[in-house]
């Protein structure tokens, strides 16, 4: 690293970027190898050593105490105190420091605001302030844009430029090519824990992407043109709040027909999760209607929605999809354990459950030591196959898959994709939500782009990626050029990997 340099660390999910940086920050201990700072080897026993060595880090999940104020969070661990051994906090000084730093780098944070009341973008700036007040020379930003809106991303890039101008070095960890090209001075690509190459930002996207994944990036899905039938899912005027009672879905209308795949694209956090949860009855809809094959299903319980012929792959499999301590067999009947042949009245039929598990394991190529193994011991891809197998094992009218291949190995991705298409071909309406634009383009027959709780446009799969990228950034052909729209070259194109 050179002073005043922005060095991008590029790699797929799980390539080892974050681990590397956690070692650099002293959170993990290296098994072997050493770290050199100014030519001298550095032993880091903990984060305090890293801070002392001038290394600061902004974690992917913010390390902020939600009920503390900005000033309290910034001073934590490096408190200015008065009164000797009693150690009274010098709040005024902390506040002043926050104000100074925030002014110097144009970060605009209020020292007295309470963290949990602040939007994510501001919280991230608090993290940056936190690092800067500790006089770091090297700032590590771990996937900083994953949770940001395009505007916030643009602001972050501006902040990064001003930090660079002030002589700070930045390590920028990401898997989004657009951002890297926009800001990095030097790029290191990591794959499976190894450096596979360095490149300059002038390298073409294809070059970088090839380095990143180690093979041709194009995910091609073999499929015939769709033959859409009658409308199965109709959503009209749907309004949903998120956990913090902030509007997440703001009047969505969409229709999915039998025998087609509707892809929903968008930067994460634009209401996709809440939209699906509302359809599934997991989250109350404040207004609007959801109709399944002519029947109004809003207000129904999740069980009733599932029973009406909806299959659902939730986006976070370890939280919502599987009971890790349960066996593969039990997870395979998690939503039909009480229906024949698996359950009758109060009693469960273990034989039927075991028999069906054996069949599913074979059909869906689930690699497990046995049907009785706890599902938590399987690899991510096989866990995901358990969910897909479960949901595709009953007759469906509608199949909703959210982030169906996140954190899944390449082999399983292809398998899951082929299953999705097969489900479409038997006449099921399919809705795929993914933040990987490639996946959406590969699978979908129509693409709905979601932005700030609304469907901002519905386009065909042959639409140029740039156009979809603009939509994801909130720029429709009509609004382009209006105030508030980001520049077309901006980070809105981030997912164009």
């Amino acid at each position: 690293m050179e002073p005043g340099e922005i060095h991008a660390l590029l790699g797929e999910n799980g390539a080892g970027k974050s681990t590397l940086m956690n070692v650099l920050y002293g959170l993990y201990q290296p098994d072997e190898g050493e770290i050199l700072v100014d030519g001298k080897p550095l032993k880091l026993k903990g984060p305090s050593d890293a801070i002392a060595a001038g290394i600061g880090m902004v974690h992917q999940h913010f390390m902020l105490v939600p009920v503390f104020t900005v000033a309290e969070n910034v001073m934590l661990g490096a408190e200015q105190v008065r009164g000797g051994i009693a150690g009274f906090l010098d709040r005024r000084r902390a506040r002043r420091e926050v104000a100074e730093v925030s002014e110097r780098y144009n970060l605009r944070v209020d020292p007295d605001a309470v963290i949990e009341d602040l939007p994510v973008g501001i919280q991230q700036r608090v993290e940056i302030v936190k690092a800067l007040t500790r006089d770091v020379d090297l700032l590590i930003l771990d996937e900083p844009t994953a949770v940001l809106t395009p505007q916030e991303t643009e602001e972050l890039l501006t902040v990064m430029r001003s930090l660079k101008a002030a002589g700070k070095s930045i390590v920028f960890i990401t898997h989004k090519l657009g951002e890297v090209k926009a800001i990095a001075d030097r790029i290191t690509v990591i794959r499976r824990g190894k450096t596979v190459g360095t490149a300059s930002p002038t390298a073409s996207r294809d070059e970088l992407a090839a380095l990143m994944v180690g093979r041709s990036v194009r995910l091609t899905v073999d499929k015939q043109p769709a033959t859409p039938g009658r409308p199965i899912l109709e959503v009209a005027g749907l309004v949903v709040d998120d956990d913090r009672q902030i509007r997440a879905v703001d009047g969505v209308d969409l229709t999915v027909h039998a025998g087609e795949v509707l892809g929903v694209a968008g930067v994460q956090g634009n209401g996709q999760t809440e939209l699906i949860e509302a359809i599934m009855g997991l989250r109350p809809a404040l207004a609007g209607t959801v109709t399944l094959d002519g029947e109004a299903v809003h207000g129904w319980s999740t069980k009733k929605v599932l029973r009406a012929g909806v299959g659902y792959v939730p986006e976070d499999r370890s939280v919502d999809g599987l009971v890790k301590e349960f066996s593969v067999a039990e997870n395979l009947v998690l939503d039909i354990y009480d229906r024949p042949p698996f359950g009758k009245g109060l009693s469960l039929k273990p034989d039927a459950i075991a028999k069906s598990a054996k069949e599913r394991i074979e059909q869906f190529d689930i690699r497990t030591p046995s049907a009785e193994a706890a599902v938590g011991t399987l690899s991510g891809g096989n866990q995901q196959k358990v969910i897909v197998a479960r949901e595709l094992s009953r007759p469906l009218k509608l199949f909703i898959a959210a982030q169906p291949t996140r954190g899944v190995d390449v082999g399983s991705i292809e398998f899951i994709h082929s299953r999705v298409i097969r489900e479409r071909d038997v006449g099921t309406a399919v809705m795929v939500v993914s933040s990987e634009l490639d996946e959406v383009i590969g699978l979908a027959d129509r693409i709905a782009v979601m932005y700030r709780g609304r469907i901002i446009g519905i386009v065909g799969p042959d639409t140029p990626r740039e156009e979809i990228g603009l939509l994801m950034a909130g720029i429709t052909p009509e609004t382009a050029g209006e105030p508030g729209g980001t520049a077309p070259e901006g980070p809105g194109n981030e997912d164009e990997a």
Partner: protein
């Protein structure tokens, strides 16, 4: 019945339409006030209800006609509720709620005192206030022990055991040495012994903290009960006759009417308890130790990333908590009573209730402890004047109040976010 507006408990400002929390509280208070005015007014007699400022019937007193008092205070409570319901600025909330509740209690007392038999129809306020503080004392120490523990993220259900061990160690070593101060130190160590076990098992061996707390309570009951029967019962002279702290009168302050005799002629534990509330409150919210303690209780990973030693701080605070509770236990055996088996009798759990009711803050816990102490004292008093209210129902009050508080019917309580979760690095 929400205690104070504790600065660290953020009330999520969700727009709830017309029925805000303030309005709901107001409506409940209004109903209570009307109920008091009608019911208590009807049941009260025309006798004078006397509230004497001394320990006896004589001397200066506040007097009011029973019926008039009951109705008047009921109306005041209803008015406070009505004001809340009508919608007042937020800063008035605490005051109006306080006024309303006090008025409700006064209305109730007007009925009870005026309906008491002749010769007993007075209430000696000094006794009541002093009794309230004395009964609240173990709760204050216990709740402070809870604050120290839970603010660092370790659930302390073992308060009962810490109090008991403190009481026992104080009595035993006080008796053996014949010195109160030795007894006091031993009590602190006794409490710390239980909390050290809690710390080791919860932090080092990652045993569920609630489970560990429950088991440690039983262990404390067992060990102290066993040694009590084996040693203290056979030779009380040698093992269970600890010297006691006398009352220390504080010059000038002791002469303040009502407050003076009730508060400033007390023993060391009373002063120590109140002092500790103040010290811990300031330390928690104004010092480096406090900031780090709270950060470890809320988000240990964040604290770790800025170099705070999470586990070390937890060990230290949990052991300190045990010492505080141990001293609280000694407030029995080094001030009032000889040690008896299981003498804490559930006070540790009321202390836990006070901690929760006081929203994990020292001053909140103090107020909650005083409220519970008052309910306890009131039960004794009503028993003495032959009230028709069964004492058992007053004794239930702290527990019922806590259930209501936790259910969110009276304000919102929120524990430190990492309370009860073991911290595993990496």
């Amino acid at each position: 019945m929400s205690t104070t507006a504790v600065p660290d408990v953020a009330v999520t400002g969700v727009d709830e339409g017309f029925w805000t929390r303030t309005r709901k509280t107001g409506a409940v208070l209004l109903a209570l006030g009307v109920l008091a005015a009608v019911l208590f007014g009807a049941l009260a007699t025309d006798q004078q209800a006397r509230f004497t400022l001394s320990e006896t019937e004589g001397g200066a007193a506040l007097e009011i006609n029973g019926t008039i008092g009951a109705i008047l205070f009921g109306i005041i409570a209803a008015a406070a509720g009505g004001a809340l319901l009508a919608g007042v600025p937020k800063r008035w909330f605490g005051l109006l709620l306080g006024v309303g509740l006090v008025a409700f209690v006064l209305s109730f007392l007007c009925w009870q005192v005026s309906a008491a038999p002749e010769g007993r129809n007075f209430m000696p306020l000094v006794n009541i206030v002093r009794g309230t503080f004395i009964l609240a004392l173990p709760l204050i120490f216990g709740a402070l022990a809870g604050v120290l523990c839970e603010r660092t993220g370790v659930v302390n259900v073992a308060i009962e055991g810490q109090l008991l061990m403190g009481a026992f160690a104080g009595a035993l070593f006080g008796s053996l040495s014949g010195n109160v101060w030795v007894g006091l130190v031993a009590a602190a160590i006794g409490g710390a012994f239980i909390s050290l076990l809690l710390a080791v098992f919860a932090i080092r061996y990652l045993v569920d903290q609630v489970v560990m707390g429950i088991v440690l309570n039983l262990l404390a009951v067992g060990i102290t009960g066993f040694l009590y029967e084996r040693l203290m019962q056979t030779d009380a002279q040698k093992y269970n006759s600890a010297p006691r702290f006398g009352n220390w009168e504080i010059p000038l302050l002791k002469d303040i009417p009502l407050i003076g005799p009730a508060l400033f002629r007390g023993n060391i534990f009373l002063y120590l308890g109140l002092l500790l509330v103040l010290v811990i409150h300031i330390a928690l919210f104004r010092t480096r130790w406090g900031l780090r303690t709270r950060s470890v209780g809320e988000h240990p990973t964040a604290a770790d990333t800025v170099g705070v030693k999470v586990l070390g701080l937890r060990y230290r605070n949990v052991i300190m908590a045990g010492m505080v509770a141990g001293i609280g236990g000694a407030s029995y055996t080094l001030a009032f009573y000889s040690f008896t088996k299981n003498m804490i009798g559930g006070k540790g759990f009321i202390a836990l209730a006070a901690l929760i009711f006081g929203r994990w803050s020292p001053t909140g816990a103090l107020l909650a402890a005083l409220f519970f102490g008052f309910a306890d004292q009131l039960a004794t008093y009503l028993g003495a004047i032959g009230s028709s209210i069964p004492s058992q129902f007053l004794a239930m009050l702290p527990y019922l109040a806590t259930i209501l508080a936790v259910a969110g019917l009276v304000g919102r309580v929120r524990a430190p976010a990492a309370d009860g979760k073991p911290y595993i690095k990496g």
